[in-house]
Structure formats: structure tokens, C-alpha cells
């Protein structure tokens, strides 16, 4: 800017006349100052209100409040799946759907079947809820099969949950027991958590418009009951218990047998462990 302002310049819209400016020098400065002051006050007020409302929103989180337990007595839960015990009967799937009112087309838990053929190929498919009646598709010629096994999948309840990290509104929260929950009142349904979950567990529930996921039947474990899928499993392939109790069956099993977690390289630190989990399962 090379122009040097001249105090005697006309202020009447550049018409070229010799009239004095509409505003005097001090009025001009005051006008601009007051305008900026008002604008700044409004901006700062809005930011303050946002921060205050944010703090209030955090406290008002209903599921977080529900999840609070007395200090010093907060259990930390874990889950163990024994793939060698799973027979793919699907009772757990039905129990989960009925317990949690999971909409058709989605699943909070499922069972994958891995079939290794003698030609080296691997077939992966999903066990139907009527698993007891067998798979829906054409029966496999067992002569061609080298080995086969089932892998139940459910939420890993990661210690460093990417789904929780990316939620923009604090709708994804971690209960004191380490369970990842969704606050149905403030979820905006952006589905970022669905993208961030490496295990494909989360989905948008089209009945509610909210993100939905397996929460290890949090409402049941708050009543000292086991998750519905654990209750329904006839073979004990799903074991739920306290990680913080050295005398729990879960801790004893974890100490006794080698276990693995899914996608360990992502550093999510799941609380869901697997016994006899082949490396090809992801």
C-alpha cells in the first residue's frame, strides 16, 4: 500500500466534493473501536458458552453416569475365546440378537468358519444363526478338506480404542470397567467410529440413527450377570470374567495358555483374547 492517508480527504463516498468527512477523526476511531469491541465481546462470549456447555455436556453423559461404580471397587473385565471349543452352533448369535435387539443385516457378534482345502486355498464364511442346522450353502466335500475351525468375533474393548478416539462428540465413551459404550443421546451418526474400528464391529443402526456395537451386554454385567452370548454358549468357548481378580477363571486361563489378540500390530490393546488363533485370522 503506497497511498498515504490524508486527513482532509473527503468522506462522502468519493464524490469529489470539498465537504468534510461524515465522521470526525475521533468519531471515526471510536466507531471502529466500538465496532471491534462489540464483535470481540460477542465472539468471546460465544466461545465461553461453548466451553461451558461442553463441560456440562461431559457431566451429563447418561451412560457415563450409569457406568460409575464406587471407587476402589471398579472391576476390569476381559474376554477369552477358545477357538478349539467353538462348534459354530450359533446359539450365541441368536442370544445376542434377542438380548440387544440387533437389527437384521447387522451383527454385534458373529462366527467365522475357516475351511482349509488340500489344494492350499482357504474358504472363509459366516455361520448363520441357525448354525445348529448347518450352513446355508452347498455342503463341502470333507474329503477335500485339510482342517476347519470356527472363530467367534465380538468387540475387542480395546484399551486404546480408535473408535473412541475419533468420536467428535464424546458419544463414544469408556465405562470405568473398560467397556466401550455409545451415548445414544449425543451420537450424531457421522460413522467415523465405524471407519476407525479395525475389526468391523461398529455399524450405524438404521432404526436409531446411532452408532451401535457390542458392549459385552453392559446392562447385564452391571447386574453381575454374564453377557448373553456367554450364557448361551453350550461349549464354554466364550469366557468372560474379571481381569483384575487373580482368582478369576479368566485370569487363570490367561496365565495357563498362550493367547493372541486380533491385529496386534495396530496397537489397540484389545481386552478380547483368543486361544489357538491361527495367524490368518484378522
Amino acid at each position: 500500500m503506497t497511498h498515504k492517508p490524508n486527513p482532509s480527504d473527503c468522506g462522502c463516498n468519493g464524490c469529489g466534493c470539498e465537504q468534510t468527512s461524515e465522521l470526525t477523526e475521533s468519531q471515526f476511531i471510536n466507531s471502529r473501536r466500538s465496532f471491534l469491541a462489540r464483535a470481540t465481546t460477542i465472539a468471546l462470549g460465544s466461545v465461553s458458552l461453548t466451553i461451558l456447555a461442553g463441560a456440562a455436556g461431559d457431566d451429563a453423559s447418561p451412560e457415563a453416569a450409569e457406568g460409575e461404580t464406587p471407587e476402589g471397587d471398579t472391576p476390569v473385565y476381559g474376554f477369552l475365546v477358545d477357538t478349539e471349543r467353538c462348534i459354530g452352533i450359533g446359539e450365541c448369535l441368536t442370544a445376542c440378537r434377542e438380548e440387544n435387539d440387533v437389527p437384521e443385516g447387522n451383527a454385534r457378534t458373529w462366527i467365522e468358519r475357516y475351511v482349509h482345502y488340500k489344494d492350499g486355498t482357504v474358504q472363509v464364511d459366516r455361520v448363520p444363526e441357525s448354525g445348529a442346522r448347518g450352513m446355508d450353502e452347498t455342503p463341502i466335500d470333507t474329503k477335500l478338506v485339510e482342517k476347519a475351525y470356527f472363530v467367534p468375533k465380538l468387540c475387542n474393548q480395546c484399551d486404546d480404542a480408535p473408535c473412541n478416539q475419533v468420536c467428535p462428540t464424546h458419544a463414544s465413551i469408556t465405562s470405568p470397567e473398560g467397556i466401550e459404550l455409545v451415548d445414544p443421546d449425543i451420537c450424531i451418526g457421522c460413522a467415523y467410529c465405524v471407519q476407525a474400528c479395525p475389526y468391523g464391529i461398529r455399524f450405524i443402526n438404521h432404526d436409531t440413527g446411532n452408532a451401535d456395537k457390542c458392549n459385552w451386554c453392559y446392562h447385564r454385567i452391571k447386574r453381575d450377570e454374564r453377557p448373553a452370548c456367554v450364557e448361551a454358549c453350550p461349549t464354554g468357548a466364550r469366557l468372560f470374567g474379571r481381569l483384575d481378580d487373580p482368582d478369576s477363571e479368566l485370569r487363570k486361563r490367561l496365565a495357563k495358555v498362550p493367547t493372541r489378540v486380533l491385529k496386534e500390530h495396530l496397537g489397540t490393546h484389545p481386552k478380547l483374547h483368543y486361544i489357538a488363533l491361527p495367524g490368518e485370522v484378522i
Binding site: S31, G105, V166, P168, T169
Partner: protein, 386 residues
């Protein structure tokens, strides 16, 4: 291709649809056009003076509708403000509201300062209705003395300087949204924000160039050949950089050939063959790069330069949209099991349908037309400056 494809049960429907493609596309245009205008307002490149105001107002017009695709995508749009009421500091999305509002404040203030003399002039010369409108737009500040104009010019430049990083963050952070998803090998790249900024600049030049040519034709005035030529040259250079970055990222993935590469290879060669190979690479990148070479020799006839620039701009805008599509949709077409793919087709109707996409892309142009009725986009609002 896996002889026994398998996808997880919750992957039947894509969580992010075409509206999430549209959002980075629009924010890219927002940032790009702002950066084009800054070449004049910050760097004082006089050659861009004919398009500086157009680019700045275009940036605002697209910014005004940038949130619309997101609102249509959200399953609870009525809770959209929750992002600003209970923002999570660990979420990339939570920053959106603050970045968007900061940018909007900058661009609106800059536009107001640029057109303030014209607004005040109109406020005094127009009738009751239009005069009232202009008086409202003047916000009660009616001084347009040379000193006031000089301060305005200083503020315009300061805002443009601040606006450059904010515009880059506005579009680069969308790239960060994808780049930070570590579970997805097609997205998880630290180059993603850079690529988004680069293609945003490209789209800014393309939109400015195209709108300038169309506006000149509609107004039956001759376009500034020097401006058109320089815009085309800048478009060529920025496109070359953007395409190189996109190519390098892919090359690195292919060269590393990690465990997920076979899936990405199948994605590109089978599921994105048209949108990537044909649209993004051939039609949107290589052809414009050749066409825009016509902007370099001075012997090229003006009409030929104008037509080739317009055609190249359209193709470049197709390229940028295809790039967004391939990132957003492509990253969801393969299962997180890495054993199968899903399909996606844009429905014609519905809030996330093709018609909605067309309307959203049309709305900024309608707003631009309305704005051009109110603000003198083609006049120098500060003629007194020497």
C-alpha cells in the same frame, strides 16, 4: 481375487457415501479459490487482479454450502451442533466446526472490506429497499475516506495472509481425517493431507479459470488474455505437482508391496478401474496436462487458448472429484477382513442421491450469481488508490 471372498457382516452398506465425497470436493474449491485470490491480495500479482474478487467471492459461495453434504450425511443432523457443544479434543472431526467458522469469519470480513466502498456508495444512491439492504451490509460503518480505505487495504492483506494457512488447514484436515485411520491401508498415509491441499489448489485454479471465461462470455466482454494464460500456466504447474504426489504415494504402496497390497491392487484394477484409471489418470490428469501446454507459447490464438483452458479446467474438476471418490469410496470397497469387496452405486433419489449432489453443486453457483447482482465483482472498488 480371493476365490472365497468374505466381508464382515456390518460392511454390507458403505458408512460414508457420495456426500462424504462431495464435502472434501467443496472444501477444496473453497480453499483453492481463496488461495488464488491471495495471489493478488497478499503477493500483489497484478496479473490476477481481474479474477481476485471473483475467486474470493466464489470461495465464500462454496463455503456457504460446504456443510450441506455433511448435514445430509449425518444420521442425526439435528445434533450437528453437538460437535461444537461437546467437542472431543482427540477427534479430528471435532475441529471442523472451529476451523470452518474461523475461515468463514476471515473470508466474510475480507469480502466486506473489499466491497465496503461500493456497498456504502450503493447505500446512498439506491432506493429505499435496496438502499436498506446496502445499509445493513455496511454494518453501520459508513466512513470511506482515503484513510479508512488505506486501513481497509491493510486489513484485507492481513486477513488474506492469515487466511492462507487457515484455508490450507480447512482442506488439509479433511485429508488428515482419512490419513489418521490406521485400520485402512488405502487411507493411512501421512501424505494424505498434502495431497488434499495440492488438489484443492488445483481445483481452485480450475474453478476460477472456468468461471472467469464463462462470466466474460456471458457479459460479452473480452477476457484478459494475460490473466487467462497465467491462470492456465499455474493450473498446469499445480496439476503436475498434485498428480506427481498422488502417483508417488501409489508408487510407494506398490514398491513396499506390504500385506495389503494385493487388495489395493485388486481395488485399483478391478473396482476403481474406471474412476481411477480412466477418469482420474487419463481424462482428468494426462489430457489436461497436454491441453494446458497451449498456455505456454505466445503464438497460440486467444480463442484457442480460451477453449483449451476451459476444457482442461472441466477435466481437472472431474479429476479432483474422481480423486475424492477413489479415496472415500475406494477405501470402503474392500473389507477390513481383506478377503472381499463390496459394491456401491449412487442412488438417483434420496438425501444422499445423485439429484441431491447436483443441487448441492448448483447452489454455490446460484449464490455466486445472486452475489454478483449485489456486489460489483467486475469493478475495482478502490479506484482512488494510487
Amino acid at each position: 481375487m480371493d476365490p472365497h471372498p468374505f466381508v464382515f457382516p456390518n460392511e454390507g452398506h458403505l458408512a460414508w457415501t457420495v456426500m462424504v465425497v462431495l464435502y472434501p470436493y467443496i472444501t477444496g474449491i473453497v480453499a483453492g479459490t481463496f488461495l488464488v485470490s491471495s495471489l493478488y491480495y497478499v503477493f500483489r500479482l497484478e496479473v490476477f487482479k481481474p479474477v481476485a474478487q471473483l475467486a474470493l467471492v466464489t470461495s465464500f459461495c462454496f463455503c456457504a454450502f460446504a456443510t450441506l453434504p455433511l448435514l445430509l450425511h449425518l444420521h442425526h443432523p439435528e445434533r450437528a451442533f453437538q460437535v461444537m457443544i461437546t467437542p472431543s479434543t482427540t477427534s479430528a472431526i471435532a475441529g471442523f466446526g472451529f476451523i470452518y467458522n474461523t475461515y468463514m469469519l476471515i473470508v466474510l470480513t475480507q469480502i466486506w472490506l473489499v466491497f465496503r466502498p461500493a456497498i456504502i456508495q450503493q447505500a446512498t444512491s439506491r432506493g429505499i429497499i435496496l438502499g436498506t439492504l446496502y445499509r445493513i451490509l455496511a454494518l453501520g460503518v459508513t466512513n470511506i475516506s482515503d484513510r479508512a480505505k488505506a486501513i481497509d487495504q491493510w486489513l484485507i492483506r492481513a486477513l488474506a495472509v492469515i487466511g492462507i494457512p487457515v484455508a490450507c488447514v480447512l482442506t488439509g484436515y479433511v485429508g488428515f481425517l482419512f490419513g489418521a485411520v490406521k485400520s485402512n491401508p488405502w487411507w493411512s498415509s501421512s501424505l494424505m493431507p498434502v495431497i488434499f491441499v495440492a488438489s484443492a489448489i488445483v481445483s481452485g485454479f480450475a474453478v476460477t479459470l472456468l468461471l472467469y471465461q464463462i462470466c466474460c462470455a456471458c457479459r460479452c466482454v473480452t477476457h484478459d488474455v494475460n490473466c487467462t494464460r497465467t491462470l492456465s500456466r499455474f493450473l498446469w504447474a499445480t496439476l503436475a505437482v498434485a498428480v506427481s504426489l498422488e502417483g508417488l504415494e501409489l508408487l510407494q504402496l506398490a514398491y513396499e508391496a506390504g500385506g495389503e497390497w494385493p487388495v489395493i491392487q485388486a481395488l485399483l484394477t478391478e473396482h476403481l478401474a474406471f474412476s481411477f484409471g480412466t477418469l482420474q489418470v487419463l481424462v482428468g490428469s494426462l489430457i489436461p496436462l497436454v491441453l494446458l501446454l497451449l498456455a505456454f507459447p505466445r503464438w497460440v490464438p486467444t480463442m484457442c487458448l480460451s477453449l483449451s483452458s476451459c476444457l482442461a479446467s472441466v477435466l481437472v474438476l472431474v479429476q479432483v472429484f474422481a480423486m475424492r471418490w477413489n479415496v472415500v469410496i475406494g477405501g470402503q470397497l474392500f473389507s477390513k477382513s481383506f478377503r472381499g469387496f463390496v459394491e456401491y452405486e449412487v442412488p438417483l433419489y434420496g438425501r444422499e442421491g445423485g439429484i441431491a449432489v447436483g443441487v448441492i453443486l448448483l447452489l454455490p453457483l446460484v449464490l455466486l450469481w445472486v452475489t454478483s447482482m449485489i456486489l460489483p465483482l467486475w469493478q475495482d472498488p478502490t479506484p482512488a488508490e494510487n
